[in-house]
């Protein structure tokens, strides 16, 4: 009987081992790149918090489009999550820090816009399933009419039932306020695309006079410029006397507003050093807002990213669609 008992135990253990070997991953097809969010007890306190070492970095390749066609970029991507929040950390090489975004420059006689845009990174998740997003990624939400260029394209879904959650970190227009712009995608129409801002307030305000000839605001006394020497709306005061400016002075053109409501869900930390950007974006797993993806750690999510190197919307580096999963 004891021999039978031992044999039975061995069989049971073998069955359990067999069951574990038949892991879920064994039956899936060609794998997409997967970013696995590591579970951490304590949220990362900054860009270099040791807690980031718990997450495996995924080197995500990006392909250049339009003026970047033929070029490639790579973004090292990590993610961690706590009981309440999810954190992404991105690091990519960029020879130049671009935060100009048409900033004003005074030449001693007149004001003019400086050449230059800004660096950005964006992420698109699904709120409600977007048909074929899982396989085609951002391509299914970029609609360029036949015979037109990317600049004439519309960004959005093809039906109202499909909804996307677009996280948009902007080095000049959102990061200085400590946020990424929280927007969402819905159906495009004949007239316009489907990109909408989340409920609440935010975005940026153009700093210019009614005749668009010069800036209207400057830094208020006692206030400091935000990161990247950007003037925030909250720190601005109307210019009463322009005579104090001297040649070479610059002023922010697109002043970030402090976001409120659902638009203030995604917080950001950043650093540009040694020719590369390091950006952390984080928000609640479930914000409770219907213009945000509610992350369930038991589920996998598709997402795609785009990188903008001192460029407009049409000139970008795009990633393939990726999978976000949560480690237990």
């Amino acid at each position: 009987m004891s021999k039978k008992f031992i044999l039975s135990i061995i069989i049971c253990l073998a069955l359990v081992a067999g069951g574990l070997l038949i892991g879920p991953d064994e039956v899936t097809g060609m794998a997409k790149q997967t970013v696995t969010a590591a579970k951490v007890e304590k949220a990362p306190a900054g860009l270099d918090d040791p807690v980031w070492q718990k997450a495996k970095a995924v080197q995500v390749p990006f392909e250049g489009k339009e003026k970047f066609a033929g070029k490639k970029a790579t973004v090292s991507t990590k993610a961690v999550y706590t009981a309440d929040e999810i954190y992404f950390r991105f690091n990519w090489k960029d020879a130049d820090k671009s935060v100009t975004k048409g900033a004003w420059k005074f030449d001693g006689q007149k004001w003019s816009h400086q050449e230059g845009n800004e660096d950005r990174i964006s992420l698109l998740f699904e709120i409600e399933r977007i048909d074929k997003f899982a396989t085609k990624g951002c391509a299914v939400v970029c609609h360029v009419p036949a015979g037109k260029t990317a600049k004439d394209g519309k960004f959005g879904t093809i039906s109202a039932a499909e909804k996307g959650d677009l996280w948009h970190w902007k080095a000049a227009r959102s990061d200085p306020a400590g946020f990424a712009d929280d927007t969402w995608l819905t159906q495009i129409s004949e007239e316009k695309g489907g990109r909408k801002s989340d409920a609440g307030k935010g975005g940026d305000q153009k700093n210019m006079t009614a005749d668009k000839s010069k800036p209207m605001y400057m830094l208020a006394p006692g206030k400091k410029l935000a990161a990247n020497d950007i003037l925030l709306v909250a720190h601005a005061v109307e210019i009463k006397d322009y005579s104090g400016f001297k040649a070479g002075d610059t002023l922010t053109y697109r002043m970030p507003k402090m976001p409120e409501g659902s638009r203030a869900d995604i917080k950001a930390l950043s650093r540009y050093a040694d020719g590369s950007w390091t950006v952390v974006l984080y928000r609640s797993l479930d914000t409770g807002n219907d213009d945000d993806t509610a992350f369930n750690p038991r589920k996998k999510y598709n997402f795609a990213m785009a990188l903008f190197d001192n460029s407009g919307d049409e000139d970008s580096y795009d990633s393939e669609v990726l999978t976000l999963q949560f480690a237990r």
Partner: protein
């Protein structure tokens, strides 16, 4: 009479007029080793089948068999219904474990010569159950309408289509048209939740019928005249319920920690997706790979069909009364050779599909 009224179980039994049935069940005797630590595969298979039926019924409550909504309905059942992913996991792991246990059950029955007279039809009905299972798995795989299920079905349909003469007809019958769309999904759904389960239940009943009539096989070494017995009810039933509880808890825990996979939604335009064969079908997949072109039929029909026919016919081919393996060397040698070939093919299939590096 007063005593009976005081017992709620007896009162209920009286109300439902079950007294005679319960008395008969209580008087029914079965071998004491019908369900023990060292002999449990048959009972475990029944546990797994019951779990498959229960978890499948739960998922059917939420399922919508239309390509546009099937994936979302499964996604909803998994992640919006409390413990939905655990129940789906129990369904997923149950059939995986079922295949393993069924294989062990078959191997044990073969080694102890349980297919020999007078239990030939116990063996035949068991083999028929085993042959029905792939049909249930194949029809079930498509239902979530995810990439793996969709493209795996395409591979299977192309194999069926390669069968001479009847291939195209069978594909039309299964799919209801040239493409895997709404008609195919509806047919797979009806087959999976109705026709095939009905056949399965029928075969299980037949299997138990022959088992009851012909008796449970013992080890070749046992002295059957002195075989100990226990009552079917409540002793055997209680053991089975204990096993059911343990397996349910075990599979529930595994499902909680390692959820069943749900891939990306099916995209029929994404021909870059290469499905990987599941472990139990690796040898069949490799047979199709080995026999290519005009020889495909050998790998897709002749060899698998021949093996199935051989299994069914075994009790009528090996008619000697000897059950001890040492006195059945020829049959054992043939079986071991076939098993080694199938294992080799499976390893080849594994190396081809799972051991490659993807860029």
């Amino acid at each position: 009479m007063n005593k009976r009224k005081g017992n709620p179980a007896d009162t209920l039994s009286d109300m439902l007029a079950l007294g005679d049935i319960i008395t008969r069940l209580k008087s029914m005797r079965v071998p004491a080793d019908a369900l023990t630590w060292h002999r449990f595969s048959g009972s475990l298979l029944l546990v797994l089948l019951v779990l498959l039926f229960l978890s499948g019924a739960f998922m059917a409550f939420y399922y919508s068999p239309v390509p546009g909504t099937a994936y979302d309905s499964v996604d909803y059942a998994l992640f919006s219904v409390p413990f939905g992913d655990v129940i789906k996991g129990v369904h997923y792991y149950s059939w995986n474990v079922l295949l393993i246990i069924m294989g062990l059950h078959l191997v044990r029955a073969f080694i102890v010569g349980a297919y020999k007279s007078p239990r030939q039809l116990v063996w035949v009905s068991g083999v028929l159950i085993m042959l029905l299972l792939p049909a249930l798995i194949i029809t079930g795989d498509l239902l979530p309408w995810d990439q793996n299920g969709f493209w795996t079905t395409q591979v299977r349909i192309s194999i069926i289509a390669s069968v001479p003469v009847v291939g195209d007809f069978m594909v039309r019958l299964i799919q209801g048209g040239p493409l895997t769309g709404i008609v195919a999904l509806t047919r797979f759904y009806v087959l999976h939740i109705f026709f095939l389960p009905v056949w399965l239940v029928f075969l299980v009943v037949i299997h138990f019928h022959f088992l009851k009539q012909r008796g449970l096989s013992g080890s070749w070494a046992e002295n059957h005249s002195n075989r100990q017995t226990i009552s079917f009810f409540p002793q055997l039933v209680n053991r089975w319920l204990l096993l059911f509880l343990g397996v349910t808890l075990g599979l529930g825990l595994i499902s909680w920690y390692w959820p069943a996979p749900l891939g990306d939604p099916a995209d029929p335009t994404d021909s870059t997706f290469v499905p990987r064969p599941e472990w139990w079908v690796l040898f069949l997949n490799q047979l199709v790979t080995v026999f290519k072109g005009s020889l495909t039929v050998i790998g897709s029909v002749i060899i698998p069909g021949g093996l199935a026919a051989l299994l069914i016919a075994l009790p009528f081919l090996d008619t000697s009364p000897d059950r001890h393996p040492a006195r059945r060397k020829k049959v054992i040698l043939i079986a071991v050779t076939i098993a080694i070939i199938l294992l080799g093919l499976s390893i080849m299939g594994y190396l081809e599909h799972f051991n490659e590096t993807h860029a």
